[in-house]
Amino acid sequence: MLPYIARRLVFAIPTLLAVSIIAFIIIQLPPGDYLTTLMADWASQGGAVEAGTVAAMRERYGLDQPMYFQYYKWMAGILLHGDFGISFELGKPVTELIWSRLGFSLMLSLLTLCFVWAVAIPIGILSAVRQYSISDYTVTFLAFFFLAVPDFLMALGAMYVMSVWFGQSVGGLFSPEYVDAGWSFGKLLDLANHVWLPVIVIGLGSLAALVRIMRANLLDELSKPYVTTARAKGISEFELLIRYPVRLALNPLISTIGWILPAVISGEIIVSVVMSLPTTGPLLLRALLAQDMYLAGSLILLISVLTIIGTLISDILLAMTDPRIRLT
């Protein structure tokens, strides 16, 4: 197993390189650069900038260099010094900006993943075992409904309902008094009070998908001969269901981690903007709009790393739960 993991990690390197190059190019594709955006901002505020100043700034930021050279400088910084460059707009090192938010992003994604799994599996089982019953049709309808509703709309709707009907403070992960406070038990409790709403909003879309997958997997397994064999042994129906078909239906579900994780992360970006959460999402959006290329590039790179790790984790889990798969 260990050599396999090592090899997979080595294979991840060219993937990441390719992702970083593509991200870098796409960020630079729109005409102009960060300074053009800056000039436009200033101009709209009534200020005028002399051409010389712009040229000087362009030189200072290295924007006058060819693109491949900028990329090389950025990569070399990351690889040699762990330096992801500087955010033009915020004037701070990218690392500093990201780390404080990355923790929340990761927490939110993992919580969402746990929520999705914990809810999707029992609902999927129910839906399969009671195929074509009222509960199955209800679940199926809701699943397609939530699959179809876009994340941001769900976020807006949820916020409206919570604040108008229940008088909850919505938006952000903390109540105003805790935002800048240090970590304490009270702050943790406050976080728990806030975090469930974005978790549900981000998770619902993936949840619906997983319920459908679980249902289909289980329906396939329920009619397999080994189920009859186990039944002929005298096992109770519930134990039979859990020990055999559900156990086997979970295997394909495990492989969905690989794509659920990126789906959750990209869903998180939009939801976070709407609900003003202190995660990387809003930061990425702003960086992209302002062509703040080092910040945007670094964020995309980190998200890709998470995706690759997610896929690797699902492969390893699969090999652990299914003896038919041997990692070599």
Binding site: Y226, A230, G234, R247, L248, T321, P323
Partner: protein, 565 residues
Amino acid sequence: MSMTNDTILKVDDLKTSFKTRTGVFKAVDGVSFELKRGKTLCVVGESGSGKSVTARSILQIVDKPGTIDGGSIVLTRQDGSQVDLAKLNPRGEEIRNVRGREIAMIFQEPMSSLSPVHRIGEQIGEGLRIHFGTPKAEQRERVLDLLRQVEIPRPETAIDRYTFEFSGGMRQRVMIAMALACNPQILIADEPTTALDVTTQAEILDLIKRLQQSHGMSVLFITHDMGVVAEIADEVLVMYRGKVMEHGTVDEVFHAPKDDYTKRLIGSVVRLERKAEIRLKRAEIAEDAAPLLEVRNMSLTFPSGLKAVDDVSLIVRPGETLGIVGESGSGKTTMGRCLLRIYDPQMGEINYRRADGTVIDMRTADKPQLKELRREVRMIFQDPVGSLSPRKTVAQIIAEPLKLAGMRGKELDERVAELMQQVGLEPAWRERYPHAFSGGQRQRIGIARAISVKPRLIIADEATSALDVSLRSQVLDLMMKLQDEMGLSYVFISHDMSVIRYMCDRVAVMYRGKLVEAGETDQVVNRPTHDYTRALLSAIPHPDPRDRRIQNRFRYVAPSASVNG
């Protein structure tokens, strides 16, 4: 009716039906029988006769939407108490206490009937846990004991293995061990040897018989093979379309059958006991004719180091059928695939003589040449379900090779209709999908596809193994008819000496990648020179209960002894 103490299970007027969209399908329609303590009752019939559903009804494990509509299934316990299983709630505790503990069941497909993700020890011991709450350590001891009883080599390591690490025969042994775990009174065996090759079948039948005697079990044995019935049954129940056609002792049924259907079933096995009539009538094939295919010293070693084909040489003459016989793992299928270059043998020559007399070595032929040759050499596969695309109509399947050969439009349609007629299918069925056909008809579709481009040589890999015995001779007859009409040659691969004897002119016996014996079929069958051939011959079930062959069969142990089967 009075219950004598030696009746352990009495089924009376059992009715089981399936409600489908088109109406109610009566799978079991008024079946009655008695199972005697310590005896074997064989329920025999073709696929679709309801024999399997009868067996499942006893344990109330009929698949949805099947339900028991009427009748009784009375189980008499050793203490004299009785219970009607048909009246119990199928999800209730009472029936669960009977399942596995008093009546155990083994199934046809030992691979899919066992869970692929649970260790076999866990699956065998599960019954003990459910019924007796046996502690883990004790459970393991008992499982090891069971594995020894069913003669699985090295039980201590086997217990922690998974099903896919075993051969078919070994898996069926695991299944039997599982059924024996709680010392049941009755063993229901639902076609337990149908998926196995003949030698393994003989081993498993032997094992069941011995365990039945040592455990004092009654056995309800479901099969379609009259040969197997003759070998093991005390009593026989013949079923057809959900009804009992005939019921009696094995001797009565075989030597004085009353029902026509029974006679037909026996006839289909007896037919395979000798050479086909159309072959007896046919003129000898000239020995000096230039061979169509000449294989010289062909060898194939897999990357794993396994020598699957080891220095094989053989010839196929025009218009003749060469049988390749051996048990699973003997390399016969791999050898057949080498002939078509599905696998690439590393050594030797595969010289194929084309119609114009030129000889091409298929082993070294390049891609365009192979494409041409594959029109002349075609293949028929074992699995009539898996080898036909479920999303294509019959006409599309048969037309596929013709289209590749460039045929289009009306000409194509006419040719497809002609082919369907040739293999005994109604051309009107051309728009149907494969699932609408029975196993035998599906194999006919496969044959029609194979002969569509007028090939000269057909490699048939276990073409009749997945079919009921009653259908085997029909499909073989069809293949011989086509052979005579089209001047075809066959390489007929099978594990079953009886179909080889029925159809082949010459036969080559394969064992562990090598040809151990080859010659005229009559000579090999009647005067085998190699012990392995004799073992294969003696493992064929003999359709005469007065002369049971399997119990006194000849076992072959390879000089470099290792465990197999």
